[in-house]
Amino acid sequence: MLSKVITGSVLTLLSCSLLSAAPYNAQAKKDRAAMIKYMEAKFKNPKTAAKFFPYTPKNELEHNFIWGFPFQEFGLGDAGYVKSVRAQFDNFMMLPPFYNAVDNGEALYHKKFANGNSFATCFPNPAITNLYPKFDDKTNRVVTLSEAVNNCLIKNSESPWKMTGMKMAYLESYLASKTTAAGKKFDIKIQSAAAAKAYRRGKIEFYSQRGYLDLSCATCHVLGAGKRTKADYHSPLLGMIAGFPVYRLKWGHVGTLEKRLVGCNKNQGEVPHKPNSKWMGDLEYFMAYMSNGIKVNAPSVRK
């Protein structure tokens, strides 16, 4: 028994010394720095923009864009860089259409389960949106905010909620509004080898072409950031996650990140991945890490 313990601790020490030279988030940090450099250069000014937007007409570049906007405004999606979208966004935010959702979410947060507990028991501080997704070493998977909500329900003998449904969207709207009010920035952690692997899987998913249109997420949201599909300008990956849950004008109500990603899958021409799948968790983990440093700005309004 003692020898097992000694061997175990020696092995741990060895692995620690081998990996301590490179912290688990080293590659992710490099990726994010490169992404920020690319995005800031891309949206800096119309003169240097031509090389990023070879097919965009000059007068569109000159008239439709907000150039050199502050870093935090990457959290506004296409409202960050398109003049017309920003004007309408500001108008909608005068009296946000999602105020109902936040109120409903607050009620759900305090509503008692059968056993007397509530979400307040699992999440005593509701300002937590900026910390998810987390990687759980014990279960060896990414835990998104929606999954954490369901874990709380299951732990308290309640039925889990649909991740793409309204209750989840309402509760997350409340949590997001508290997080935004607290001025919190995304602070996703990669603190183990397994977590680094999940990040890497998410990155590969983001950059993989799939579906009958052969599109990857990056086609539209990295290379295509600043470009249009018909009349829709694509939001950049940087800060994309900051506005969720989002009130989509198209839906006429709020929806979770999972709801939107399922929709994106369908638009790409593939059978959508399940909201609680490893695929979706890994992808959200990657997306969220890339927005570290951006303030949570949710609920928000998008087209």
Binding site: M94, L95, P97, Y99, N100
Partner: protein, 98 residues
């Protein structure tokens, strides 16, 4: 109804959003339900003086958002907004000028 009332320089500005799904005549026909939308909104200062009045069609967006201003009003005054809809229902909300 969400209401924000601001007063400065003798002018009161009101921003409000009524909660009302808008069911146009076309949608009502398709779904065999009653058409309904807000048809009229009126705002009064201290319940007496009309300071805003609008008649709306089915082409005003659902959950009507309105912004208007009027000369007058001082801290302590109230602004009431009443809406009526096509089916005859009405609702009154009150906001105070701080």
């Amino acid at each position: 109804m969400r209401m924000m009332v601001r007063n400065s320089g003798g002018v009161t500005t009101v921003i409000a959003m009524a909660q009302h799904k808008s069911i146009s005549y076309e949608v009502a026909k398709k779904k065999s339900i009653k058409p309904n939308f807000i048809t009229y909104m009126v705002a009064k200062l201290n319940g007496k003086e009309i300071v805003y009045e609008v008649t709306m069609s089915q082409f005003v967006s659902a959950n009507p958002f309105i912004k208007f201003s009027f000369k007058g009003g001082k801290p302590g005054d109230t602004v009431t907004i009443k809406w009526e809809d096509l089916q005859g229902k009405s609702k009154v909300s009150t906001g105070k000028i701080r």
